[in-house]
C-alpha cells in the first residue's frame, strides 16, 4: 500500500470515533428539522437565482457546506494532536516524507468532507427534494464543492494548528474563526435581507461561496456569478493549501 494511503488509514482510524460521527449527523439534523421548521413561518420564501426556496430547503442545502467546514476541523486537530503527542516526529522518523504527511491530511479531509456532504444531502433530501433540479453537473458541482471546501478549511485549520502550541489557544482561535465563518455567511440566512455592512461581510467569507456553489448544484441555478464564486473558492483553497504545506514543511522537531 502506498505510504499516503497508509497514513490516510491511520488518520481515519484515529479521527472517526463514534462521538464525532454522531455529532456530524445530529448537529445538522437539529438545525434542519428544528431551526428550519421553527423559522419557516418567519422566513417564508428565500429567493435563490431564478427560484424561490422555502426556508427548510434553503437551510438544509446550506448545512451541507457548513458540515463540510465543520468536518475539516479534523485536519487541524490531527496535526495539533500529532505535534502534542509526539506522533509527528515519530511518523517523520518512519518511512514517510513530509509530502506524504501533508497529502495524507488533505486526502483524509477530502474523504471526510465528501462523506459528510453526502450524509447531509441524504438526510436533508426530504426537505429540499421538491426544489431539486438534477442535471449532469449537479453531482460534479457538489463533489467540487466538497473537495475545494475541504482543502480550503482543512488548510486553514492546519495553518492555525502549526502556529499555536497551547490547547486553550488552539481551541479559542479555531472556535472563533469557525463561528465567524458559520454565522457571517449565507449558510443560515440569505445575504439579501441582511443590513449592508453585514451583507458585504458575507462575501468576505469563503463559506458563503461554498454554500452558494452547492445550492446552485442542487437547485440547478448555475449562473455566471456562481462560476466566479467557484473560481474564487478554488483560488483561496490553492493559496491556503500552499501556505499550509510550507508551514508544515518548516515545522521543527
Amino acid at each position: 500500500m502506498h505510504p499516503v494511503l497508509r497514513l490516510v488509514n491511520r488518520n481515519l482510524t484515529i479521527s472517526l470515533n463514534p462521538g464525532f460521527l454522531i455529532w456530524q449527523v445530529i448537529f445538522p439534523l437539529i438545525y434542519i428539522f428544528v431551526a428550519g421548521f421553527a423559522y419557516a413561518p418567519l422566513i417564508q420564501d428565500v429567493p435563490f437565482g431564478s427560484k424561490d426556496l422555502d426556508y427548510p430547503a434553503f437551510l438544509a442545502s446550506g448545512m451541507i457546506g457548513f458540515n463540510i467546514m465543520n468536518s475539516t476541523l479534523i485536519s487541524g486537530i490531527l496535526i495539533w494532536n500529532d505535534r502534542r503527542h509526539g506522533m509527528f516526529e515519530q511518523i517523520m522518523s518512519g518511512p514517510f516524507t513530509r509530502s506524504h504527511y501533508i497529502l495524507s491530511n488533505i486526502c483524509t479531509i477530502g474523504v471526510i468532507g465528501l462523506v459528510s456532504a453526502s450524509l447531509i444531502a441524504v438526510v436533508g433530501y426530504p426537505v429540499f427534494f421538491e426544489s431539486v433540479e438534477f442535471s449532469f453537473v449537479t453531482i460534479p458541482i457538489i463533489i467540487f464543492g466538497a473537495i475545494t471546501g475541504s482543502v480550503l478549511f482543512g488548510s486553514l485549520a492546519s495553518i492555525i494548528s502549526t502556529r499555536i502550541r497551547s490547547s486553550e489557544g488552539f481551541n479559542v482561535i479555531i472556535n472563533t474563526v469557525f463561528l465567524f465563518f458559520a454565522f457571517v455567511s449565507t449558510a443560515f440566512y440569505p445575504a439579501d435581507g441582511a443590513p449592508e455592512p453585514l451583507r458585504s461581510a458575507f462575501y468576505l467569507n469563503p463559506l458563503t461561496y461554498l454554500v452558494d456553489v452547492i445550492r446552485a448544484g442542487i437547485f440547478g441555478t448555475i449562473t455566471e456569478f456562481v462560476i466566479i464564486e467557484m473560481l474564487i473558492l478554488a483560488a483561496i483553497a490553492s493559496v491556503l493549501f500552499i501556505i499550509a504545506s510550507r508551514l508544515l514543511t518548516k515545522l521543527d522537531f
Binding site: 500500500m1 497508509r6 497514513l7 488509514n9 491511520r10 482510524t13 484515529i14 470515533n17 494532536n81 503527542h85 509526539g86 506522533m87 516526529e89 515519530q90 511518523i91 517523520m92 522518523s93 518512519g94 518511512p95 514517510f96 516524507t97 522537531f253
Partner: protein, 312 residues
Amino acid sequence: MSCIDVLHLSKSYGSVQAVNDIVLSVKSGSVFGFLGPNGAGKSTTIKLLTTLIRPSSGSLSILGIDAVMNPLQIRDKIGVVLQQPSYEPTLSVEKSLDKYGMMWNVPKSERKKRMEQLLKDFDLVEIRKKRNEDLSIGQRRRVQVAREFMHDMKLLFLDEPTVGLDPSARRKLLDYLKNKVKTGLTIFYTTHILSEAEYLCDEIAIIDKGKIITIDSPDSLKSRFGKEKTIKIHLTEKHPEISSLLFGIIGCKISFDAGTNIVIHSEHSELVLLKVLKILSENHVEIEDLSAVPTNLEEIFLNMMRENASST
C-alpha cells in the same frame, strides 16, 4: 562491518554548536551506548542519525546509505524510540500496535501474530483494551517501545527507553534487547542510567558539550579510568586525633567528617587499607562498618565530566 559511520559531523543552531565534529563507527550486531549529561547533544545526535534533521557539516552513513542524500531509504530500515512520549491518545494498546504495523506495511496476518507476542513480551496483555490516554507513564513507555518491534529493522535507535519504567520492567526490557541483538539487530542506545549501559552495551561513547570525550568498551573504560577506589570506614565513636594518626600515609587522599567517618580515595586501595587498619588497631579505634565502593561506570562518567569541565 559498520552499521553507522559518522565523520566530522556537526550541527549548529545559530551560534549554538549542539554537535561538534563527532566521529564514530558502530559495528553491526552490537549495542552502542551513548552517554552524556543533559544538553550534551545526545538527542541532537540521534535526530541526525535518524535523518530527522540535516547536519550542518560532515558525512553520515547508515547501513551503507548516505543519510543526507537518501534519508527515506534509511528510515525504511531503522526503528526509532524517541525520548519524548509518542502515542495516539484515543487508540487502545492493541489498536496502537496494529495500526503502527499497518503504517509500516506489515501484512495483517503477520501483524496479528507479532502483536500477540509483543503484548506478552512487554506485559501488556491485561491492558490491551485500555486507551493510551488512560495508561500510566511506564505503561505508555512500554507500548512505545513494543510498538517499534511490530516492524522489521536492521538498526534500532533507543533514546532513554527506560524512563518511567520500574526496575523489573527495566531489566526485562534490557534482557529483551539483549536477545534481539543475538538475532543480528544493532542498537544505538542513549541513557542516563549508567548501570544499564554497563549491562547492555558492547561499546560506549561519552559526549559532553557536543563533543565526544571517549569511545571504548565498558571494561576498557573501567581499566583506563577506574583504577581509583573508594574505601569508607565508619567508626563507633568520635576520635578527634584520627586525622593526625592517619596523616602521612602516602598514595591516597583521606577525608574526615564529624569524626566518625573516614573516606579514602586511592589507586592502591588494598595497600592503603592494610596500613589504615593497622594504625586503627594499634590505637584501639573500633570500626563499626567498612566498605570498598567498586569502580563503576557512574564514577568514571562523573570523573570524566569533572575533568572535561575543568579543561574547558
